[in-house]
């Protein structure tokens, strides 16, 4: 009987309940549950937020030892101790740490993206560039409030409104802040329909918002096939650090447009993308260790993230207004806000705000141009930041 009591006490001491002395872990489990609620009930980017939130839950379970921060301390993988101590999530996290998952996601994004509207109206690339303003405004503010330059660059990239790009840059520049930055990026991407419209309305007049744009020209198949090859060559030559992201994006697009490898294109769009999304989400969630996540820094990142989104929208709309003036009212400035990437949500927002002013106005295809240009733009900006601070 005594023996049984001892066994029972040993068992109790080995449970998470007994070992949960760290209040931060409980707070993190609470936050994970809130994020799960947002993903499931409010449908906030559920495809990513759900695995991220669950990764957060798993990593903060007392003594479950699923993820070891110390193996990735100082931005380097501790290979000497890796095999002995690594848990499941450590292995999955290697894909983030080594920069494998984000380019694979881009492969799928490329296979799903139609660059036709961009080829038909190449000037929309300018809007995709202007909307990267948010990245740099957030970077400046982050530097001024005292973040290290590499962390400030990672915070700025939230303004690129592109989850995989943000994760790619942060995993290289400031891996310790991967959790809060990824959560901020994906939450704000889900909140694009809330963040953007007030800024768009503030910067434009009623007359500008109701401008109807000319129908886009037809883009030939040959143009669509040559486009990804040309973009890969030119962008990679100019910003070599952007090559992994842009190269995979364009490989995916070439697989789609060439029409000769439908099986590969389908796999990249569906199975591969889904598998990588699961791994990426869970392992990014796993980095949200209570001691790092529950600090003023996270609050700072969240605040600066929304500023980055706001200024990105502002930059795009502002250049849209300029283009409207220069073309004597042929460009609706609302399509500028779609330049922040967040495909296709931002383009839908342009469509919705435009239609609110003039129900017969269809801006969606016009907004898709800046929208996909934004993806290229944020990948280029990411390349610049990586080469400056990497």
């Amino acid at each position: 009987m005594e023996n049984f009591g001892e066994t029972l006490s040993d068992f109790l001491q080995s449970t998470g309940f007994f070992n949960a002395t760290d209040w931060q872990q409980w707070v993190m489990i609470g936050i994970a549950c809130v994020l799960l609620y947002l993903a499931i009930v409010k449908k906030f980017e559920p495809l990513l937020l759900l695995p991220i939130a669950f990764g957060m839950l798993l990593t903060n379970l007392p003594i479950a030892e699923m993820y070891h921060t110390e193996l990735f301390a100082g931005g380097h993988v501790d290979w000497a101790n890796f095999q002995g101590t690594a848990g499941l999530l450590d292995y999955l996290y290697l894909g983030v740490k080594l920069g494998i998952y984000p380019p694979l996601i881009f492969l799928g994004v490329g296979a799903m993206t139609d660059f036709g509207p961009l080829i038909a109206n190449p000037k929309s690339l300018l809007l995709g560039a202007a909307a990267q303003l948010g990245i740099f405004v957030a970077l400046i503010l982050a530097l001024l409030v005292g973040f290290d330059p590499n962390v400030a660059a990672s915070i700025g990239i939230i303004g690129g409104a592109d989850g995989p790009t943000a994760i790619y840059v942060t995993s290289k520049l400031a891996p310790e802040f991967l959790g809060p930055i990824a959560v901020a990026a994906y939450t704000y991407m889900a909140l694009v329909p809330v963040i953007q419209p007030p800024i768009m309305k503030l910067c434009t007049t009623k007359k500008e918002r109701s401008i109807k744009m000319e129908q886009l020209r037809h883009v030939s198949k040959r143009e669509k096939i040559i486009f990804p090859v040309a973009v890969t060559i030119f962008v990679s030559l100019l910003v070599p650090a952007a090559a992994p992201l842009v190269g995979m994006l364009m490989l995916g697009n070439l697989m789609r447009e060439s029409g000769v490898v439908d099986r590969l294109s389908n796999t990249a769009q569906n199975e591969l993308m889904n598998i990588v999304t699961i791994f990426l989400g869970v392992s990014v969630g796993a980095t949200t260790n209570g001691s790092v996540f529950l600090s003023g820094t996270t609050v700072g990142i969240i605040v600066l993230g929304v500023i980055a989104f706001g200024f990105g929208t502002f930059g795009g709309v502002l250049l849209g207004k300029l283009m409207c003036k220069l073309t004597h009212g042929k460009v609706n400035p609302l399509i500028g806000s779609a330049g922040v990437s967040a495909v296709p949500m931002a383009a839908r927002v342009s469509q919705k705000v435009g239609q609110a002013e003039n129900p017969s106005n269809f801006l969606l295809m016009h907004a898709m141009g800046p929208n996909v240009a934004g993806v290229i733009g944020s990948a280029v900006a990411a390349g610049v930041l990586l080469s400056l601070f990497g």
């Binding site: 001024l144 409030v145 040959r222 040309a230 820094t297 280029v380």
Partner: protein, 121 residues
């Protein structure tokens, strides 16, 4: 949250990064605009003769006299022949034969036979 940098250092890093970043992003995307424009010009020039051909094809066909008396058997044979031809070309668009018309005798068959003899080697 203390990077240990002086305000002047912070401002210089911020200024340099922002200037360089925006210049590179704009330069890169402007370069792409130029590339796309050149490509579209090259491809459009080549397309011209093709588009004439397309127009010729797109000309509305002369209205065909509809056959008053419907021959169900002939209709079935024609449907089967068209379906077989379309399948061999890899097209699976559903279709309905609304009208058919006899063309000049057996000349079409003669021509098809001759063509296959000439081109098949």
């Amino acid at each position: 949250m203390n990077s240990g940098l002086s305000l002047a250092e912070k401002l210089s890093i911020a200024g340099e990064t922002t200037a360089l970043g925006l210049v590179v992003v704009f330069a890169c995307l402007i370069l792409l605009i130029v590339v796309i424009m050149i490509l579209s010009v090259i491809l459009r020039d080549r397309k011209k003769p093709e588009s004439k051909l397309e127009k010729a094809i797109e000309k509305p066909l002369p209205e065909m006299p509809t056959v008053q008396v419907q021959d169900d058997e002939l209709l079935a044979v024609l449907t089967a022949a068209v379906a077989a031809a379309m399948e061999s070309e890899g097209s699976s668009t559903p279709f309905v034969i609304r009208s058919y018309r006899r063309t000049g005798g057996s000349r079409a068959w003669n021509r098809a036979g001759r063509d296959s003899q000439i081109t098949n080697w």
